[in-house]
């Protein structure tokens, strides 16, 4: 509803400065939920922490892993969260009660585990030195389907020597990143040899494959519409591709085209990129840099660098863009803190005094014809009341202002837990917008709850007298 009143659309659509720093242990992995009100973070010690972005406090802590979290994935409804760790297992959490809904063991550390966009009982995982698997949890015993990493070969009539050579090459292909298409009809997989495969999850076969880069594909990301693909590779180049409609009925696997759109790189410094993310609409691409402190933001339309964000004095790992706001979350590699980058809108002073308006330049005031006419009070009141003949609808909600376009999704409400113990949130310096005061909560975080508040605003006026209070009694 606040969109009705804000002119935030005038603000720029990429973040500018750090508005919050939050910390719970040493964070290695981040993911926003679809609605954008919660942020999941995975820690080195295997704890998964769910943050409430409205309060910037911990909403849930999930303990079950014993090794660093490598991947997080939310279900569409926001009730289930899939976490994967270096300790060979993936856990699907039910956030309704904070329990382990399912646990799946693998035979190696997991690179990525991604839930199907519509079915929270199906996920695809890419595993270190192993074939990727499609895991079906609909039965009490989970079913793992092995997916291929090497493309099918067209030359069936090649001689034995060539075949042997190809087989050797194929054996070296290892899938390092997997992602579902938006419809959930296909899986996009990147390999250590720089190939991009499209896998049909029903037949478990690669229907299309192409070499997109010369080195390991480390991250694959799609925009919300699913029409653009972002690929980060160890060859120091970030690539974006146009994705064809793979769910088209007349899809011919031989004619699929995945045209390269942009290559983002730093030619001067030859930087390589830790992690990449699309902005909410896909208009921007952001990346964290290896051995460097900055975050880079490119604009996808022209393919130009628009901003280098400099903030914390440490290298940053995983970065994630908020699903519909100009907000970035990045985690520092050294301290494990989560930095929230955002835009701050200035306070409009005219909002505080309704008789005033903010004008860009001087306006000559022209007096209305009847401005100083005197009318009897009753007449003014009557005229005012007569004007109130508009039809008012107080019940129908205007859904256009909401972000969740598919309201068919079951409404999940995160439980409010009171027993999380002392919050780990660390607010040493909180950007304070004009007119609001925020207290630092360091002492509170350490010593349980702190009764004393230092709040300068309310103290400057004497409290109202007891007599005026008694009117309610």
């Amino acid at each position: 509803m606040n969109l009705l009143l804000s002119d935030d659309y005038l603000l720029q659509d990429y973040p500018e400065n750090i508005t919050n720093t939050i910390r719970s242990g040493h964070t290695t992995c981040l993911r926003f939920n679809r609605k954008g009100d919660y942020l999941a973070s995975g820690r080195v010690d295997g704890t998964v922490v769910v943050w409430d972005l409205e309060t910037m406090g911990v909403a849930q802590k999930l303990r079950g892993h014993r090794a660093a979290i490598t991947s997080l994935s939310w279900s569409r409804c926001g009730r289930y969260l899939l976490s994967a760790c270096q300790g060979w297992r993936a856990v699907l959490w039910d956030l309704e009660n904070g329990t382990r809904f399912r646990e799946v063991r693998f035979r190696a550390p997991i690179y990525t585990a991604e839930l199907h966009p519509w079915n929270h009982k199906l996920f695809v995982a890419s595993v270190f030195d192993e074939a990727p698997s499609l895991v079906d949890l609909s039965d009490p015993n989970d079913v793992k389907h092995t997916l291929p990493s090497a493309p099918r070969r067209a030359n069936a009539d090649a001689d034995a020597a060539t075949k042997e050579k190809q087989a050797k090459e194929d054996a070296k292909q290892m899938t390092t990143a997997t992602v579902w298409t938006v419809t959930g009809d296909h899986i996009l997989a990147g390999t250590n040899k720089g190939r991009l495969n499209i896998i049909d999850p029903n037949t478990h076969e690669i229907i299309w494959s192409e070499k997109i880069c010369s080195s390991v594909v480390t991250t694959l990301r799609l925009t919300g519409s699913g029409r653009e693909l972002l690929a980060n590779s160890q060859d120091r180049i970030i690539r974006t591709f146009h994705v064809p409609n793979l769910s088209a009925e007349d899809l011919d696997t031989d004619t699929i085209q995945m045209p390269l759109e942009h290559k983002f790189q730093d030619v001067v410094n030859r930087l390589s990129w830790n992690h990449v993310t699309f902005s909410a609409t896909g208009e921007y691409v952001a990346a964290s840099t290896y051995n460097n402190h900055e975050l880079y933001i490119w604009e996808r339309n022209h393919g130009s660098l628009v901003r280098m964000l400099e903030g914390p004095k440490e290298e940053q790992g995983v970065i994630e863009w908020h699903p519909h706001r100009a907000m970035l979350a990045a985690c520092g590699l050294e301290t494990g803190r989560i930095y929230i980058w955002s835009v701050t809108s200035p306070q409009r002073w005219s909002a505080l005094a309704p008789d005033f308006v903010e004008v860009e330049e001087n306006v000559e005031y022209i007096e209305r014809e009847d401005e100083f006419d005197i009318h009897p009070q009753e007449e003014i009141v009557k005229r005012r009341l007569d004007l109130e003949d508009e039809d008012i609808d107080v019940l129908t909600t205007d859904l256009r202002k909401g972000y969740d376009e598919d309201s068919g999704v079951t409404d999940f409400r995160m439980p409010v837990l009171y027993d999380l113990g002392a919050s780990d949130s660390e607010e040493e310096f909180v950007a304070v917008s004009t007119g609001t005061v925020r207290r630092r909560s360091m002492g509170e975080a350490e010593g349980g709850e702190d009764a004393e508040e230092d709040k300068p605003t309310a103290g400057k006026k004497p409290p109202a007298s007891k007599s005026s209070k008694s009117k309610k009694k």
Partner: protein
């Protein structure tokens, strides 16, 4: 012993927040009746006068005689923001249905709309006559705010344009902090407000006409709240009365759809054990 001026239900109905004259806000477990937190929420410099939970239940907004509005992180029991809101005691507070806006009002005559996420004031609503406002609430769809003012009027504001869309009168409100709410029966919205002569007055939202007056209490009726077809009122006579909507006979169906609210279904005397408290448990 300190007087309690405000109570609020968490949206999951498991927690009750109370605000009292000892400047503290306490969170109570509905089932056990014990405090949810070892320590109350402290921070206000004067009596806590009004409370509201956000629709998700993660934020609690409080208004106080120290003229400030505080937003609390309910989970951590931590003060998130303090808004220097008014120049008189804050008398009413409410969240919009999507939780992005907070409205506060004060006896200084101002009604202010705040952005929950940034803590900025987005709008100030003030009527020409500047009557003290005693209570405020959002319309069910969050598009309007209803302000109860001490000139015996309720005003429905369109906060985007900053204009009064409807003025409802017919009750008495000159000296007490009273509050009511929206309700709807058979898809027809109505407004319920208490009156200082002990009556409960129901208006049709659209044509501003009084559709029903119910004799509620001896002395002042302070507050009335509606949940679906159940209504509860509290009065100076120390009673809580619960009412049930009765569908009118099909033959004489009233066009407003809200006529036919029965006489009080049951009385809850505060001194007696609350036998029928199931009836007032849910607050929408």
């Amino acid at each position: 012993m300190a007087g309690i001026s405000a109570v609020a239900w968490a949206p999951d109905s498991k927690t009750i927040a109370s605000g009292s004259d000892d400047k503290a806000i306490r969170l109570w477990d509905r089932v056990t009746g014990r405090p949810m937190k070892p320590k109350p929420l402290l921070g206000h410099h004067s009596y806590v006068y009004c409370l509201a939970f956000s629709p998700k239940g993660n934020i609690l907004a409080s208004g106080s005689y120290d003229e400030a509005v505080f937003l609390w992180d309910v989970r951590a029991g931590r003060l998130m923001r303090s808004l220097p809101a008014h120049s008189d005691p804050v008398s009413g507070i409410d969240f919009s249905q999507d939780g992005t806006l907070v409205v506060s009002c004060s006896t200084d005559g101002l009604t202010r709309i705040w952005d929950t996420s940034t803590g900025q004031c987005l709008r100030t609503l003030v009527h020409e006559d500047n009557p003290p406002i005693t209570s405020v609430c959002f319309a069910p769809n969050g598009r309007y705010v209803l302000a109860f003012s001490m000139d015996s009027c309720l005003r429905l504001w369109d906060y985007v344009s900053g204009t009064v869309k409807k003025t409802y009168s017919g009750h008495t409100n000159e000296g007490f902090s009273i509050g009511g709410c929206f309700g709807s029966v058979q898809g027809e919205p109505f407004i319920a407000a208490p009156s200082e002569d002990g009556e409960i007055v129901l208006w049709d939202v659209k044509n501003k006409e009084v559709v029903q007056r119910i004799k509620g209490h001896n002395g002042v009726c302070f507050w009335v709240d509606v949940h679906e077809d159940t209504m509860a009122s509290a009065g100076q006579d120390g009673r809580i009365r619960v009412y049930k909507h009765q569908s009118p006979e099909p033959a004489v169906k009233d066009i407003n759809g809200v006529a036919g609210v029965d006489e009080a279904l049951s009385d809850l005397a505060v001194t007696e054990p609350l036998i029928k408290n199931e009836d007032i448990k849910q607050e929408t």
